[in-house]
Homo-oligomer: 412 residues x 2
């Protein structure tokens, strides 16, 4: 699959080990009771790398986030370490435990403790026991391999049903640059909330400043445009390491090379975003809302996100019900400016397209066709405004009985 | 039941006919297929009344809202007319049809068409047929009675399981002033969204300006503090008529009389707010979130509403699961400022109280007690901050399988 504009080649089986010089591993160390479930993940670059990250906007932040921020303040990292099963959030001595994890990795690997990007996901409010991590660190480091990306992707999963990973290649100044990524979903962990975590690796040579600029810009149109249930976790983080082994001239400013890198990054992040939305807890279908013709980008984003986040839209989509009034209603309460009297709404899928609303008024559409369109596993809600030139796309999933079951069960 | 501070006497069986000089009626005119379901409601004051209203903030507004706004621009009304079964929203000729309804009432009753507060609730996007309303208007007017409040409350119901009404009395300057109200809930109607409608009557003598001030202030702490599923409808409206028949000196400025009236109004509106939350679609329990110790009122309100609106909190409460981390998470992503390191969380009900979080950290609480507390039909989530003196309360309901069933079913 190749994007003709930017010559980005998509590798659906790729992962964080696809770029040159990255080894990874994932093991069961004992944080989770289920011994078949990996719970400790590691990614190491062969050489020090430029590093950047974006973090949750939740005012309640997991302890690992503070440690990662401090560790990459110098724009540099060489490893990503993540446990599942415990979020190390709202729990005693969180930052000390996160720093201890970095030190354990440093002792076992010879890396510097302050070159570690650290993350945790799982239950919050309970102390993270360090013993299983201490015991597991040497086996984790010993398991590092250039083929370890899949084990690593499995070890960060919580209620995710499928591992999420991909990679792309792009030509930058005659060199083949590779970007790879893994992600875990925003499904909510038993018994508390979980987290969206994204780890990206690349062999591009790029300054940490431009790397930060690339990811900060990109998330506006990718990970900030997905919603499973509207709850922003305490531990969400996207981090990236760029080790320069592709041999391209270092990207230190805007220009064609930066644009090519950004396009490659976007292909990875938009794939992982959709994968997270599709694998939302209890989801039976992937929903995409595209808003076109808005006054500006920010308005288009707010409108698309409002539709994709509406419980009424999500339950209607679960029921394959062409309730376009709920779409208009969600646009209306978003707080973003638009002209409802000029709004058109259509539903589309591989089964066809059905126009349901024109200029804010009902169309006399075929309910039979609408049902066929909405029964598909991927459904697009297309909102066409006539207010301007801006557009945005948001991804989400439907709201099912299974979501209620997963999140309403007694803890046990 | 008497509130000792303000001497407000609560009348749980009261309604819009409890204040002096209000007649009401409710009939089946044929807008709804089910002939046992009333679908046309009327309230008439014996004399012209001061009028005020607050409306949905949704940018997509039902046609009746524009007509009501115009009709009460002079601060005066004498009737409230409401149909259920069709929202007259995003449908052809909406405003003309709403005005026609007012004219039909004027012809049948001798009132002025521009003294009518008009409302509609039901499916959106479909033309509202005027014929059943034209045919039903004379029977509706003929049925007006000082005992008609219950029929009227029934006629505005959609997916509501119970009629919602109450009244209070209060002494103002030696005169007994009565305030009565009816409401329909924010349950979502088949096949589109429905509406929160509140009709309040009072025999107080009060200027329309002070009446507007009273309701505009009051909704901040009542109807704006409830959430069933976060979707703000296109047709939400609270309206009030004050006909002066209690004989108190007209309230035209702030002072003790205004405060007494505001207290009476608040008793009615807070009761109806809780009744709407309790009767949310699929709800199995009423949730109250009280935030104390916030920096200011607006902050306290945003925090309380964020907790009550969280799908994760709502599913946890459905499962009687003491997932306090979800409460902290919802506070955190609300965008309102607070110190998470100082936040305490408790759950309370008639079965007891259990402290689950202190200063942002887990407490070692009894899961057995927590389950007993959360299995009750009314559960309070108590958040104690240490940032200031402001507090707020929000009401909501849990998120159940039944909510998904009601809103996900095919239209039929």
């Amino acid at each position: 699959m190749t994007d003709s504009n930017t010559a980005v080649t998509f590798l659906p089986d790729g992962n964080v080990c696809t770029p040159k010089g990255f080894r990874a591993s994932g093991i069961h160390c004992g944080l989770r009771r289920n011994k078949t479930k990996k719970d400790l993940a590691l990614i190491v670059s062969d050489v020090p790398a430029a590093a950047a990250a974006v973090y949750t906007l939740n005012a309640v932040k997991g302890a690992p986030i503070a440690v990662t921020k401090a560790n990459i303040a110098d724009g540099r990292a060489q490893a990503m370490l993540c446990n599942s099963g415990n979020a190390n959030t709202c729990a005693p001595n969180g930052e000390a435990i996160a720093r201890k994890m970095c030190m354990l990795l440093a002792e076992a690997s010879g890396l510097s403790a302050d070159d570690v990007i650290i993350a945790s996901t799982g239950v919050i409010g309970q102390p993270l026991p360090i013993e299983p991590i201490a015991t597991g660190m040497k086996p984790l480091v010993d398991a590092l391999s250039y083929e370890g990306g899949e084990d690593c992707a499995a070890a960060i999963m919580t209620t995710d049903l499928v591992a999420k990973h991909c990679a792309v290649t792009v030509d930058i100044g005659g060199k083949t640059v590779t970007v790879g990524g893994i992600a875990k979903g925003s499904g909510m962990i038993h018994p508390n909330m979980a987290t969206m975590l994204v780890f990206i690796t690349t062999d591009a040579a790029i300054s940490s400043e431009m790397l930060q600029k690339a990811v900060s810009t990109d998330v506006q149109n990718t990970f900030n445009m997905i919603s499973v249930d509207g709850d922003t976790s305490t531990n969400d983080m996207l981090s990236v390491m760029a080790n320069g082994l592709a041999g391209n001239a270092e990207i230190t400013a805007a220009g064609a090379d930066f644009d090519a890198f950004a396009a490659a990054l976007h292909t990875v992040t938009s794939h992982l975003s959709r994968a997270i939305a599709r694998d939302g807890e209890g989801a039976t279908k992937l929903l995409t809302c595209t808003v076109t013709g808005a006054t500006d980008d920010a308005t288009a984003r707010v409108l698309a996100r409002s539709v994709i986040s509406s419980s009424l839209v999500k339950t209607a989509m679960f029921g394959s019900d062409a309730n376009w009034g709920r779409v208009l209603c969600a646009l209306g309460y978003s707080g973003a400016p638009f002209n409802p009297e000029a709004a058109d709404v259509s539903f589309a899928s591989s089964a066809g397209i059905v126009d349901v609303c024109s200029a804010g008024r009902a169309l006399d559409f075929s309910e039979e066709l609408a049902k066929k369109v909405l029964l598909e596993k991927e459904v697009s809600i297309i909102v066409t405004l006539h207010d301007g030139d801006a557009d945005a796309t948001a991804w989400g999933c439907d709201l099912s009985y299974e979501y209620v079951r997963i999140n309403g069960d007694y803890r046990s």
